[in-house]
Symmetry: C2
């Protein structure tokens, strides 16, 4: 606490000798933003907080980011960019499209589970083009997805149809899984009243007396089978696509 009196710069904490390269970069900012979202939720990502987390003033970010909207857009782009459509060692095309889609689905799921607080952004931000459907909202991914299927015997029409089905499937299952994994975290809803019962206050434990069936089935409803549901639904989707292809 006792500052040594040798301090020469009482006001400017900034070192006089700066490394020449910029201390900031778009990638660095986006990276930190993602980490902030993961840790404290999207609403905690303010320009000032992000700046502070980088040891920098809020306004400094505007050189690399075109406002908050663009920041969020960049976060989404960065996250979606981490999806690998195919595994690193190129799989044989005759591994079949089923293996291809399996791998792809699981990589998107990995992304969702690694960033459950950010996934709603990916899911609900307006895509750049109407046919860029969440969560597959990058040209690179759509291109690779369509090519991957065409290389494995899909017609154009079949590939496009598969793209549509897959988007819906991933969006529904993963968004739900993220919501469940965020329940109970710090940034779900922090303003917890203690016992204020003036307004219909539905937090704490719900009153199930009027809903006997829900009450009776609550144990089953509470069980978390999201993983198994995902696998099962994916399997069924593939079966369904198989049927449609051969018909």
């Amino acid at each position: 606490m006792a500052d040594p009196p040798t301090r020469s710069e009482p006001t400017t904490p900034r070192k006089t000798s700066e490394p020449p390269g910029p201390r900031l970069s778009r990638a660095l900012i986006l990276d930190r933003a993602i980490r902030l979202i993961d840790a404290q939720g999207v609403t905690a990502l303010t320009m000032r907080a992000l700046g502070a987390s980088l040891g920098v003033e809020a306004m400094s970010l505007y050189r690399y980011v075109n406002g908050r909207e663009d920041l969020l857009e960049g976060v989404v782009e960065q996250l979606v960019g981490s999806i690998e459509v195919e595994p690193g060692e190129r799989m044989e095309p005759n591994d079949g499209w089923q293996a291809f889609l399996q791998w792809f689905a699981h990589d998107v799921r990995r992304l969702a589970l690694e960033h459950p607080a950010a996934f709603p952004l990916i899911a609900t931000r307006h895509p750049a083009a109407p046919w860029l459907r969440p969560p597959l909202r990058s040209l690179r991914i759509v291109e690779a997805f369509l090519n991957g299927l065409r290389e494995r015997g899909f017609t154009d029409h079949q590939a496009v149809t598969a793209y549509r089905s897959f988007s819906s499937f991933l969006l529904g299952h993963l968004l739900l899984e993220c919501a469940m994994s965020c329940v109970g975290t710090s940034f779900a809803e922090e303003p917890v009243d203690e016992g204020n019962a003036d307004l219909p206050n539905d937090d704490a434990q719900l009153d199930l007396t009027d809903y006997p069936t829900v009450a009776r089935l609550q144990p089953q409803l509470t069980e978390d089978h999201t993983r198994a549901e995902f696998e099962e639904a994916l399997e069924h989707l593939l079966v369904r696509m198989d049927l449609e292809m051969s018909q």
Copy 2:
């Protein structure tokens, strides 16, 4: 435009003779909030704007609404409350669970299409309980859903499983459909730069030169078949449930 000079209260626009009942109510506020969201998007729903739209100061809303979070929660509750699990004239239980689920799915879809700007709220707000899955996030609905299926021959386990599958299905398909119907509307992204190309600016027309397959298939990708996709996927989900029940 010409005010008659008989105006007696030049400063207070408020009438001296007030109707005794409150001019505001929670339902009225929520109703107006929904209308505002439908018209201009969620971000346009500010306390002040909502108050102004009701001819009232922002702070007056706080008597009926516990802050903005509670307002949004109320909006979601009101919207979800408009879902009818079964048609008005009680259908025969032997109409079969398929008809039951068909009707239910289409009523949730109606809600989504009537309020495309509000549906993301329903989809992504943290539910009160982990097993209250969006978009079926009300005890009333879950209770009616489970009962409806049990009356039509489902076991407890089957009903719970159906609830899970249905949530994912509705969430994925309807959220996607809402996103598509919101693209191009005023509240998608209004800060449209004209030609500023300093930062990677991905609005306007995307550059597809590096993505030949997407470019080639753009016509097919642009076609909107959301309605048919919904029906088809619903049909397949029902078939899949049928198989699982008989096995």
